[in-house]
């Protein structure tokens, strides 16, 4: 059994983990990345389509290209990378229990960065009735089969859910000669990015059926058909619209859930709105020295945003670990005197905010990320604490598929106290 010590242990070697590790290393910390797969890059490695890096690198890259740029930087930076290594436990005292072919490892860390990503929602989560045959799988698994294993999941494909992975796979399967019969979406609007609707469905004449869902799975031992039906404004199935579509594969692209089993083992509290940790403006969880970033924190649509968020987490984690080190023996740093915690939460039309709390007075700007719950044609962001308006945006359109960000300046929040201890982010419709 190996025992190791690092200032920073980053759990997960996808885009979030790599960016956090690089930033922490740049700040002078000793850093290890633990990655369960046989290479760094995470889910980017199977995202062989382009569209990555437009904002961060100002160029259009494929997923593996985006990953490679970071993999090369990690290799050059002198970060210890443990591949094929699975973390199986994490304690509040920041001890990491991991394993690989060489045996068990116990790593002690000054700070932890959680960067484990997310997983796909499955059939069970939405309780689709019917038989339980082969031929029903998540879109991400299908992407793995086609792009990495080079196997076809079937020939005649129905896709349920208009999440980005489903849209990307509609195009990918079409290009590989499979017949994509249609994409069905329960809601009256698409869940994926507009550019993906355009580039992946419209350009390939793949129909998108809104307010329509799969109501029955038919066939055993292999899928033979699905029944679809339209739903009304209350999402109730309209019986007379039921229709059976012969197919051999049903792909599910019905949402992503941050993977926080490990976070919970360390006692980190989760935000029920994101299923990710509750974090402050430094992306620190409620367990001191444990930070979170990327899709484990909240599900992103663009990897560029993941990178930025992870750099922030890596920076803060390094500051924490290095300060703890130098302050050893001295009293706790960062005296709480004259400081207050202000909660940040969603108001009208907003699903969640990250962070969920902040400390004032704050020496620096605070970036609040959020998503609207449903598309809004004309609306404005209003951020307020009590009756005090901290920020008001210009009226424009909002989509739930796009993550929004507002930056508040220190002087806008530092006066807050007492009765105004919640910052509410709303997006109000404008007539």
């Amino acid at each position: 059994m190996k025992q190791l010590d690092y200032d920073i242990v980053v759990i997960g070697g996808g885009p979030a983990g790599m960016a956090a590790a690089l930033k922490a290393k740049e700040k002078g910390a000793t850093v290890a990345i633990i990655e369960r797969n046989d290479e760094l890059g995470g889910i980017l490695n199977q995202c062989i389509h382009s569209g990555f890096g437009l904002s961060y690198f100002k160029q259009e890259l494929t997923g593996p290209e985006y990953a490679e740029l970071f993999i090369n930087r990690v290799a050059a930076a002198g970060i210890d990378v443990y591949l094929n290594t699975m973390v199986i436990d994490l304690t509040p005292a920041r001890q990491v229990k991991a394993m690989n072919e060489d045996g068990m490892l116990v790593l002690s860390a000054g700070a932890i960065v959680l960067a484990m990503g997310c997983r796909e929602r499955t059939r069970g989560a939405i309780k689709i009735p019917g038989s339980r045959p082969a031929g029903v799988l998540t879109a991400g698994l299908a992407q793995r089969y086609v792009n990495i294993e080079n196997r076809k999941p079937g020939e005649r494909i129905v896709i349920l859910g208009s999440g980005d992975i489903g849209l990307i796979m509609a195009r990918r399967l079409t290009l590989e000669g499979m017949q994509v019969l249609g994409v069905y979406e329960l809601m009256p609007y698409a869940n994926g990015l507009y550019r993906n609707i355009k580039n992946c469905l419209d350009d390939f004449d793949i129909p998108l059926h809104l307010s329509t869902t799969v109501t029955n799975i038919i066939g055993y031992p292999h899928l033979e058909a699905v029944e679809v039906a339209r739903v009304d404004e209350n999402l109730a199935v309209i019986d007379e619209t039921r229709e059976v579509i012969a197919c051999d594969t049903l792909l599910l692209s019905i949402g992503l859930i941050p993977e926080n089993e490990l976070s919970q083992k360390s006692g980190v509290s989760l935000n029920p709105r994101t299923n990710g940790p509750l974090v402050d403006e430094d992306l620190e969880t409620d367990q001191p020295g444990i930070f979170a970033c990327g899709n484990v924190l909240h599900v992103h649509d663009l990897v560029d945003n993941v990178t930025l968020e992870a750099e922030q987490a890596g920076d803060a984690a390094a500051a924490y670990a290095l300060q703890q080190k130098t302050a050893a023996g001295v009293s706790e740093t960062g005296s709480a005197e004259n400081k207050a915690t202000i909660m940040i939460g969603p108001g009208e039309n907003v699903g969640y905010t990250v962070p969920a709390k902040m400390t004032v007075p704050s020496p620096k700007e605070i970036r609040i990320l959020f998503r609207v719950r449903r598309p809004l044609e004309q609306a404005e962001v209003v951020i307020q604490a009590g009756t005090k308006i901290l920020y008001q945006g210009k009226p424009r359109a909002f989509k739930s598929s796009v993550m929004e960000a507002v930056v508040l300046k220190p002087e806008e929040v530092n006066g807050l106290n007492g009765t105004e201890q919640t910052i509410i982010v709303s997006v109000r419709e404008v007539k």
């Binding site: 060489d102 069970g124 309780k127 031992p221």
Partner: protein, 485 residues
Amino acid sequence: MNHYDIIIIGGGITGTAIAHECSKYQLTAALLERGTDIGIGATKGNGGVVHPGYDPTPGSLKAKINVRGANLYPQLARDLNFGIINPGIFVIGFSDADEAMLKHKLEFGIKNGVQDLAIIDASQMRNREPHLATAARHALYAPTATVVDPFEVAIAFAENAKANGVDILTSQPVTAIEKRADGSFLLNTPEQQFSCSYIVNAAGNHADEVARLAGIAEYQMKPRHGDLLVLDKDMVNKPQTVIFPCPGPDTKGIACIPTVHGNTIVGSTATMMDDKEAVNNYAPGVQALIDGVHKILPELDAGKIIRTFAGLRPVVLNNNNDFYIAESQTVKGFIHAAGIQSPGVASAPAIAEQVRDLLDNAGLEMVPKADYNPYREKPTDFDALSIAEQDALINHNPAYGRIVCRCETVTEGEIIAAIHGAIPARTLDAIKRRTRAGMGRCQSGFCQYKVIAILSHELGLPVSDICLEDRGSQLLCGAVKGGVK
């Protein structure tokens, strides 16, 4: 052609328990299962409760067998090393009428010989289950009740039977049975022929069809369908007790069941069906489960559902909902173990004893084996080991250092061991039942491709031949345009 003293048709928990019982005696026996694995009919479609026996009418065959079977479980679990927990059962009542019903159950239970039953009040219930519906007033408490994983039990029975000389053969659907002049039977499967002196029909929902192959038309069967739900291990406020509402005429009601593995099962509905093959979930049934469990545990988070499944309980019609365990009235040497509806899991070990006695009465000499080994070794469960044991295991075999299923912490070593086990796992679901790979919250989204690759490698089969469960359930078809790189 192989001749056996006994051929058992059907490899569910009933058939495997009978195989296990037969393996204790000096005789030759084989079990023929039509499916690709054992335990994949009614055995995999229920909640795993070992009912203690307060439900059956005193004096019925079911009452006797249920109580005896339930009492055998703790020792069997020790000998055969399968998981068992002892959460006890609450049957909760909300009204005076319910209380009368609970007292009636208590009386049944006492007559049937169930130990330690008591009616408890609301405060006693809440001490144990603080999140129970506030309207619940009293409960019948059966503290001895246990819960098992029924397919693990079937696998354990089958493995131990095999170790003691019984042939366990899968993918062997019996297509013809002939009673020969010398009294023996000739059985055909699509690929083989067998002969035997005695047949035990443990074919679950298909027992009437198997009987008909031998010219027996003593009973007709229909399935009683049930929907069930599985909830995530990380659900908050998990119940510690199996909680039933007061029962209806044909069903014990929708219960909340803690499992051996830390999940929670909600089940089940009960609807008589015609189709014996349609192990489907139905939307109204699934909704009834959610509504039903909320009557017991109003705060239970339905967002933690990770899977729905279903089961078909085999019911012999016009038999007072009892089991049908008897030698055929018309064909000597043909023993029925049919209609094993609820509580089939609890009853299986005692059904096996009953069948043994029927075989004995029918003329088969049952002489105990001197070298019978009652013990089965538990397969390695990496997750359950200490860190030092895990480290030693990996050093001994690096395959145990490779995690395949991250949700349930299952290693490649455990999967390879299952593929080469006594009752080999040859499908994705067979591996899932033995190792729990794919059983967790991602429902195999992350590990399916790895398990397929391991199966393909270990069995020497192309990836496109690997099945989910039954024949024809291939998971992948051909290669993409550029071929496999």
